[in-house]
């Protein structure tokens, strides 16, 4: 179910040339802000939780998830070079799973690791804040990658749709309408983070069992459907 050649090509597509620069930009910014806050403000658990929750988990993880998830397959479908991959004797679900693993690895590397470092910079992992948000970022990476990989196979506007979901649905509607929070990857990941640290700075609106079930269902469902979609892919010309 894992094809090293496909994985190597996907890594190259995601991290080759200037593209890695975008991916380094966001974590770099997080670390700079964390250092600045620590320098201005000193260590403060609440500020650390706000910054990691508001910037790292709510903005950075979804953005990197969109870039990695859709970037793993979208450009290939867009310029039609996916046919060379599809014509090889590799199963379509294998292609999807390999690309998903790569996307998850990239998202984790560029979001969870900086979150952990930023957490330690901010307050030296006081009250387990850094570890909790890292766990949340790891979990969210998996779900976001699966979701956005699926989007990449469905639509050529995958990046825009993914960003609208991440920024408008989760951030805007999530803060206005309580019901929208139940259907938000971020809240599911927070539920797990809450479990890790216990009651305190991090709270989620979704109960842990619900969150776990939804996470697993969304990840597996999106992966299966992406594989299915790739089997019946029609290539359209440029608009």
């Amino acid at each position: 179910m894992y094809d090293p050649t496909v994985a190597r090509l996907t890594y190259r597509a995601l991290l080759g040339r200037r593209r890695a620069a975008i991916l380094f930009l966001l974590p770099g910014l997080l670390l700079i802000i964390a250092a600045a806050v620590r320098a201005i403000n000193g260590a403060d658990d609440q500020v650390a939780a706000d910054l990691l929750g508001g910037f790292a988990l709510a903005t950075m993880v979804p953005l990197i998830g969109v870039i990695a998830g859709t970037g793993a397959i979208g450009p290939e479908i867009d310029d039609g070079s996916i046919v060379y991959l599809l014509s090889k004797p590799v199963k379509r679900p294998t292609i999807i799973i390999t690309k998903l693993i790569v996307a998850i690895a990239v998202t984790m590397a560029f979001s969870a690791v900086p979150t952990l470092i930023a957490g330690f910079i901010l307050n030296g992992n006081g009250q387990q804040v850094a570890v909790a948000y890292t766990v949340a970022a790891l979990v969210a990476s998996i779900a976001y990658s699966a979701l956005f990989l699926l989007l990449g196979t469905i639509s050529r506007h995958a990046v825009v749709i993914g960003l609208v979901y991440a920024l408008v649905w989760e951030a805007l509607f999530g803060s206005l309408i309580a019901g929208a929070r139940t259907l938000s990857v971020q809240q599911w990941a927070l539920a797990l983070a809450e479990k890790v640290t216990g009651e305190g700075l991090i709270s989620s609106d979704v109960a842990l069992p619900t969150a776990t079930v939804l996470l697993v269902v969304v990840t597996l469902g999106a992966t299966w459907f992406a594989g299915h979609k790739l089997r019946t892919l029609t290539l359209a010309g440029e608009e």
Partner: protein, 300 residues
């Protein structure tokens, strides 16, 4: 049978004049080509002249942009309020995500595809220069953004007259709002086009534009909030210099009668306002310079 003698050849081959003629009609020239490129890019930014599928997104975003203005007008007329409960200058700030998504979806389609399919040399085989191409694309993107951001203000203004608000005051506020969104359009389209021109792959271009606009705004707001919370209010206006949207917010706060909307309602004074103006003009000039440099060698 024998082949014809070589001596026969000069008699049978001859160059025919098949009537090619050189073009001696009017030549429309450089300014016409520039105008065409401008209008095609502007139409393309709303999907006009492209497939039905590519009309969906810009038209949808245009609708989303205008819908709140209609609702505000309806409520204002119904309750006979004597002023709109959203300021003209605040409208674009409230709907910044819609503007960012619009720019992120349309800036790459305007420039990235020309780069990726290597059609840029074809443009330059026409009588246009590099500066014409950059100006046409930049102008078209800025005009498209201006249409997107000014239309809801126009709806608000018409609504304010329907609700019989004070004409002179509303006209003044409307004018200030228009100047503010004009600055925003030119600044944002410059940033968007630079990001799109540097990343020929459409998906990365979209993500890069969104990242530059929203991440910097989020980061600046967070830092402003923290420096306000730590009694460090002097730093708040200066932090605003580091993201496109807070630049516009600060400028309209200083010169265009907009209320202070940084954390803690810290106002931007006239002195800081001048710095904001200089930074905005510098950024626009820098975007133009980067675009000119980008197209110096492209595809040739």
């Amino acid at each position: 049978m024998s082949t014809p003698a070589p001596e026969a050849a000069p008699d049978t081959t001859r160059i025919h004049n098949i009537g090619y003629r050189s073009y001696d009609g009017p030549r429309l020239g450089r300014s016409y080509a520039r105008r065409s490129l401008f209008s095609q890019s502007l139409r393309g930014a709303y999907g006009l002249g492209r497939s039905a599928k590519s009309k969906v997104l810009p038209m949808l975003l245009f609708g989303v942009m205008c819908a709140p203005a209609l609702i505000i007008v309806a409520i204002s007329v119904y309750t006979k309020a004597d002023e709109l409960f959203v300021e003209y200058t605040q409208y674009a700030v409230l709907l910044q995500l819609v503007i960012a998504v619009y720019l992120a979806s349309q800036a790459p389609q305007s420039v990235s595809r020309d780069l990726r399919f290597r059609t840029v040399p074809l443009y330059f085989s026409r009588p246009i220069e590099r500066v014409d191409y950059v100006l046409a694309k930049y102008g078209a993107m800025a005009s498209a953004l201006f249409i997107l951001t000014a239309s809801p203000l126009l709806i608000l203004w018409i609504g304010s007259m329907l609700a019989k608000m004070d004409f002179v005051e509303q006209a003044k506020l409307f004018g200030q709002g228009l100047v503010s969104v004009a600055v925003l359009s030119v600044l944002f389209s410059g940033v968007g086009l630079v990001m799109a021109a540097l990343t020929p792959r459409r998906g990365f271009g979209v993500a890069a534009v969104i990242a530059v606009l929203t991440i910097t705004y989020g980061a600046v707001s967070t830092l402003q909030g923290i420096s306000y919370a730590t009694e460090n209010t002097g730093a708040v206006p200066w932090l605003g210099l580091f993201s496109p949207l807070t630049l516009v917010i600060g400028l309209q706060n200083a010169f265009l009668g907009a209320p202070a909307s940084f954390p803690g309602e810290v106002p931007v004074g006239a002195g800081a306002g001048v710095v904001y103006l200089v930074v905005i003009l510098g950024l626009i000039a820098a975007c133009y310079g980067i675009l000119m440099a980008r197209y110096r060698k492209v595809g040739l």
